[in-house]
Amino acid sequence: MNNPQLNSNGELIHLLSLDGLSREIIHGILDRAAPFTAVAEREVKKVPLLRGKSVFNLFFENSTRTRTTFEIAAKRLSADVINLNINTSSAAKGESLLDTVDNLAAMQADMFVVRHASSGAPYLIAQHLAATRRDHIHVVNAGDGRHAHPTQGLLDMFTIRHYKKDFTKLSVAVVGDILHSRVARSQLHALATLGVPDIRLVGPQTLLPTAADRMIEGEATGAPLRVCHKLDDGLRGVDVVMMLRLQNERMQGALLPSPQEYFKSYGLTPEKLALAKPDAIVMHPGPMNRGIEIDSAVADGKQAVILPQVTFGIAVRMAVMSMLAGGGTAQ
């Protein structure tokens, strides 16, 4: 089976998932992102790598924050950016996903940044473009269902590499609603591919896939995923704590009894964080639910790197977009 995000030379043509990407490709993106962090410090925060290119932000699911970071990244690369919130336009009129894509492709798009509520929707788009010989249009997955959020996974790896340098000696805990989390899936693939020897999945059984310990395969086969139902076991001695957002709709009902009880068992407080290594970093993809998954004292504490994650996110997205459609580098 051909991985639709790679061409026949094994080069990245779309970014759909971190599943199936090699260590070289992931490090290549992170290496490319590094100089872009400096672009933001300049007086003129622009480089001309995507000048004349049209980037369409196709958001079939609302997200102001992610859309904005992609928009900033594309604009700093000098691209023309068109934002479409499709859940409020065509889909409501009954137009199919592929009809929407065909119409926008006819407007000479160079890149689609896609967010969709269904797992795999960006694959459908990429496969459709390939089948209709339009694979010069690149697809970037900005989050699909529960499946993947690859740029988030990459910016998380960029952040870890920035603070910890070497992946191969780290213990990492991913805490929260792993079952419904596309962020977690992207993080796990990247962590395993980059050689992290101890990855702990922490959460109650209702928020973990039945086959949680077999969530990754391919190059990452045999990666030491370990399920911990107790937060203490998950945090003890780790270098990195990656918190996940708990969606409002999951907080009551048959998955969890209440937000209060969740905080009691899985909320990251200073006392719990003390179980991790003293220099452990705390990450969160945002937006945070203070007092539900994370205590304010931790979120605002000196171990939190949550705001640097946001800054790095722009650089990483610039790296991905320029790599797919630009060709040049920041220098």
Binding site: M1, N3, P4, D19, S96, L97, L98, H116, S118, S119, G120, A121, Y123, L124, Q127, H128, D144, G145, R146, H147, A148, R182, R185, P209, T210, A211, A212, R214, M215, I216, E217
Partner: protein
């Protein structure tokens, strides 16, 4: 019309016959099998079956013709042509039409529409409850009179176990067979793929094996208590099969079937979100697939079905979780049976039994159906077991082009199909 089928290898699973012979057909019946023609037999047509197998016409225990209600997905004409091209001469329709087959008039209309020369004989399964809602029993006696051979719920489970018990009691009263798929409604809710490693990795909502085993436990218990004649459709898991085996060991007379897709495929075949692999029940783990293939061989599973479900492109060219479940199958039943037989190095007669004599037994059609013998109905399939072909949209006669086997090379090509002595299909376009 008198037809001589010459130079073929005659394989009749019901008797174990497997030898070179000619088959002589007069009118709707087989009048002779052997080296020499019956006395004064003058063929009006001769079919050359050199290099071919002559076997009873296939009997498919589940094929959706999409009429009434879904004519934009398929019509009786398109699907009957597909059945004939697949060597199928009898098929069972589940009641999930629109409206569902819950009134005698609908069943009579379907039977009437399907009663044409060269069409496979259609055996409808009537709805067990009105509109398949699981609340009120249908007029089963009336429906049986109109032609229903069993009663079931297609893929809609009865949530209220009291209604399920009453339905089985009532059917048992008249000795009507009850055909059910074991799927717990709540455990299936929202799921689109087997709850396992693949769904965990791809972020697809899972349907656990428990959805099958929990429902199956209830159904088997109720069948034991009510005495209903039970057939379990579309078993998908090793654990489900184990429950059926155990119930049989306890003396329950239960039969079951599996689909060609579940026989050969598993959740890994979803690949990169291939909507053709979106099926009901979901494709399960490789170990489940292997257990089903073994169970079909050892007799724990009685029959193999195409579970033919033509789906229009619009309903498949969507993200995986929005795609309509189902796959086209009438034209793949035979080659996928042969593939399974070849993989297990099984005698041809034993393999073909799963799509001829065994389904005939489940349907209670023992006299002169699903066999090759003088006096039997001339329902015949003549195929070249060595011919290879690639499954393609162009080749499929069904209006549904949806199958996970698209692009795959298979072996075993139908040359001629006879339904009641009528040449329904010829690969040579003699028609």
């Amino acid at each position: 019309m008198k037809i001589e089928i010459r130079n073929g290898r005659v394989v009749d699973p019901s008797s174990g016959l497997d030898q070179p012979a000619s088959v002589y057909v007069a009118g709707s019946k087989i009048v002779g099998v052997g080296e020499t023609a019956p006395r004064s037999f003058q063929p009006e047509a001769v079919l050359d079956a050199t290099g071919c197998v002559v076997c009873p016409g296939l009997i498919d225990l589940s094929a959706r013709l999409r009429e009434p209600g879904f004519e934009y997905k398929a019509t009786l004409e398109s699907e009957m042509a597909a059945a004939a091209a697949g060597g199928i001469t009898r098929l069972v329709c589940p009641p999930d039409t629109d409206p569902p087959l819950d009134e005698p008039g609908l069943v009579e209309m379907l039977k009437h529409r399907a009663r044409q020369p060269g069409f496979a004989q259609v055996h409808p399964v009537g709805a067990l409850t009105t509109k398949l809602e699981g609340k009120r029993l249908t007029e089963m006696a009336e429906l049986a009179e109109a032609g229903c051979i069993a009663f079931g719920q297609a893929s809609v489970s009865i949530v209220d176990t009291q209604v399920l018990m009453r339905a089985m009691q009532y059917a048992a009263t008249f000795d009507f067979p009850v055909w059910l798929q074991a799927q717990d409604t709540y455990l299936t809710q929202g799921g689109v793929a087997h709850d396992g490693a693949v769904s965990a990795r791809l972020g697809l909502a899972g349907i656990p094996v428990l959805a099958e085993t929990v429902a199956l436990t209830t159904i088997l218990q109720l069948a034991g208590a009510t005495g209903a004649r039970l057939h379990i459709r579309r078993v998908s898991s090793a654990a489900g099969l184990a429950l059926i085996r155990a119930a049989r060991a306890d003396g329950l007379a239960v039969t079951c079937d599996i689909t060609i897709n579940h026989l050969h495929l598993c959740d890994r075949d979803i690949g990169f979100f291939d909507a053709h692999a979106r099926l009901d029940p979901p494709l399960r783990a490789p170990s489940d697939r292997d257990a089903l293939a073994a169970g079909l061989a050892d007799g724990s599973i009685d029959a193999l079905i195409s579970d033919h479900t033509p789906v229009d492109d619009d309903a498949k060219q969507t993200p995986f979780d929005e795609a309509e479940a189902g796959a086209t199958g009438l034209e793949l039943l035979l080659p996928l049976t042969l593939k399974w037989a070849a993989e297990r190095q099984m005698p041809l007669a034993q393999a073909l039994a799963k799509i001829t004599s065994e389904p005939a037994r489940i349907l209670g059609l023992t006299a002169g159906c699903g066999c090759i013998a003088p006096g039997a109905v001339a329902d015949l399939c003549i195929f070249d077991p060595a011919a290879k072909f690639t499954v393609s949209r162009e080749r499929l006669k069904s209006q549904g082009k949806n199958t996970p086997f698209l692009g795959k090379e298979l072996q075993g090509e139908v040359r001629y199909t006879l339904t009641e002595g009528h040449l329904a299909y010829s690969a040579d376009r003699l028609l």
